[in-house]
Amino acid sequence: MGQEQQIRTACRNCHGGCGVIAHVRDGKVVKVEGDPASPISHGTLCSKGLAVTQLAYHPDRILYPMKKTGKGWGRISWEEALETIAAKFREVIETNGPESIVIGQGTGRDYESHLYRFANLLGTPNVLTAGHMCYISRIGATLVTCGNLPVTDWHGDPRCIVMWACNPQWTNPDEHKGVEFWQAYKKGAKLIVIDPRKGFLAKKADLWLQLRPGTDGALAMGFLNVIIEEDLYDKEFVDRYVHGWEAFAERVKQYPLDKVEAITWVKQDLIRRAARMYARIKPAALQWGVPTEQTLNCTDCTRTLVGLMAAAGNLDIPGGNIFSVPPKVRTVSEFSRHKDLSAEQRSKRLGGDQYKLASRVALISPKAAWDAILTEKPYPLKAGLLCGTNPVITRANAREAYAALKKLEFLAVIDFFMTPTADLADIFLPAGTWLEQNHVADNWKRHGFVLARQKAVEIGECWQDHKIFMELGKKMSQPWWDTVEDALDYLLEPSGLTWEEFKQVGHLKGEMTYHKYRQKGFSTPTGKVELYSTVLEKWGHDPLPKYTEMPESPVSTPEIAEQFPYILNAGLRTPTFFHSANRMIPWLREIRPDPIVEIHPQTAEKHGIESGQWVDISSPRGCVKLRAKLNAGIDPRVIVAEHGWWYPEIKEEGHGWDISNINILTDNSPQSLDPLMAATNLRVCLCSISPSENQEVSTWQS
């Protein structure tokens, strides 16, 4: 047995960020541990990260490039795989133009820089990511409102914390981790929790506001109403640094508390108390979660919440919501060479004319992609390269996503396993896990850090995603570097460090300064926080935020509610899984073997549903089966369901993608999308429930 070596690296089982020490023996990672020296995770590590050895060495993992022929999948060389893709892309470019190639990724996984560089140099404006309804949408909306994304400053000792639709201890809140929230909270901060479901934090909270799913924007207006009416806002800040305060305050007046209570189901008195607490205790930090973005209120809700931060004077102050200063490294944007995409190609971005904010942050919506494939309008998409994404499970109206990807003439995927999406591909490229990568990690986040993720091992013929884009790019005659590490040297150049030196340092942090607006203003056209947005006005949109009722709800479609009387709150996150990942990991699946739908005991009784029973959940778009769990901590009118479910243990094509996939129920019709960002509503629609006739659904065997 060889000597054990310890390699300090950074996890990426979710978006990543946690420090890890990987123990390597005889060329194999035998164990991972949290790194106490990590500035992000401080030694903790979650169940997903801890289970990485079962991911990396999983018997079903695909370790070689594969090609699908009439006889099924067969192993090929990297040379053949890349040449096949390059030849197809060259053919499409010649016949239809580069815009007919879609490049896509799922959730943020630290390779945006390389994926976008490949797409931009290819000349396609059609990059499909989760960003239209997750994080990038928040960045887009804050960009036009206050110039950057204000993130919670846990290190600055907030005295009041608002967890707005976020559970950072179960799921990744994008920048910092749950442990830092917990440290801040344990110092005695007041806690306000906005959540339709009573979770751990709601139990701990000083005030818990149990809102109707999807009404966050209206509730934020309610907060502002109290703050303005009771003169609790920061007049000095508002006078000097807010553009259009008067108009904004007039808009807020349209949301008196009785109206907000009717919309949100939250009692007026509770809204008042929460608003007072947030406005009076300084500093206060607001951590927002992705449900605020995953409806048609995406942009408006984000803008309203920035209004709340601004009104309470919490922007860029210690312990408030801050604009972190990035370390001196090249930005993802510069590396991606967005400027090299010609104006002509940019003008061809699918949905770009309509969804201007999405276009501003260089992405398209899945709906635009599916339409272009299925209807060939405005022009057809012919080929695609999708990396680390499983849209037939994770995008709204999954049956349409499935039909579109099935129809796409040529599809290459980059992944670890044969997923339901990979089943539809022609070429499979095996990606390296985070144990198999060298990268300047976390460089796309807004927390002011970059982390050294260094390779611990190599497995099979897997390549890290960055190398795949790089080598494919070279096949397409694009300018790249000889090695992955050469590109990292370029990324690190402004810091004065090489990759080899950075590895020794472990991480870099930007020099934080607060109140930057006092010298520089905000990076908006007026230099102020644009609660009245000059950008949106120029684009012909309402310059002030508002709340819009869900397009499918008891209020807007009472006729649909007759047949589908419950509000489905889809997308409940779990600590062991990350979107559609990890269902094949034994340690994690043992903890959560089945897809869960939570039902209030009264509602369950009404339908003769018992805990543990499989139930049918239906919406106007389809029906799926999940296992019932009773939860008195949700509203009896609401049904809460997990997302991301497929069954890796079903070996046939499709892997049971349509059995428990909650996105078969969600909607992606044009009226359900955010008008600026094309954010898809993955969260709220109407549904019905009943005990399932088939009680033999789960196939997982311990």
Binding site: K31, V32, E33, G34, P36, H42, G43, T44, L45, C46, S47, L50, A51, T53, Q169, W170, K177, G178, V179, W182, Q183, K186, R197, K198, G199, F200, L201, A202, K203, P575, T576, P586, W587, L588, R589, E590, I591, E598, N631, G633, S702
Partner: protein, 155 residues
Amino acid sequence: MAKLTLMFFKKECMGCHSCEVACKQEHGLGVGPRLVQVIEQAPDFYPVYCHHCPDAPCKKACPENAISRDESGVVLIDRQQCIGCKECLEACPFGAMQYDEKQEVAIKCDLCIERLKENRPPACSSVCPTGCIHWGDSRSVAKQISSGTARTRIH
């Protein structure tokens, strides 16, 4: 000498299950035995774990004297001596005693004695983001829990 013990401060367990996977990794366990387990009934979480009882019912129930309590207070099972009768599983009031179907013997928490020898915390405790898993001599753990000064960080 005060004896060692393990205690979860239940009120601060938020059901992330990190302790479970850390334990599996540390002990090289696959699917099956769960030496620590968190049962979820939102918004509450109930950790199931070995308390290393002074007068351990599992020890008393074992017909083969395979279970012992060492001088530091850690209740251990000698798997060579175990005959797989499961009497200890029945005796444990916490449901912490586990059965390893593959080896056909009982298995239990050993408080990561190998780690403790190196002055490192038990695996479960080392990863807990709320710091709700306490170990140490029974008096100081009890004191921490009752005074509400339970450490929020291990390191």
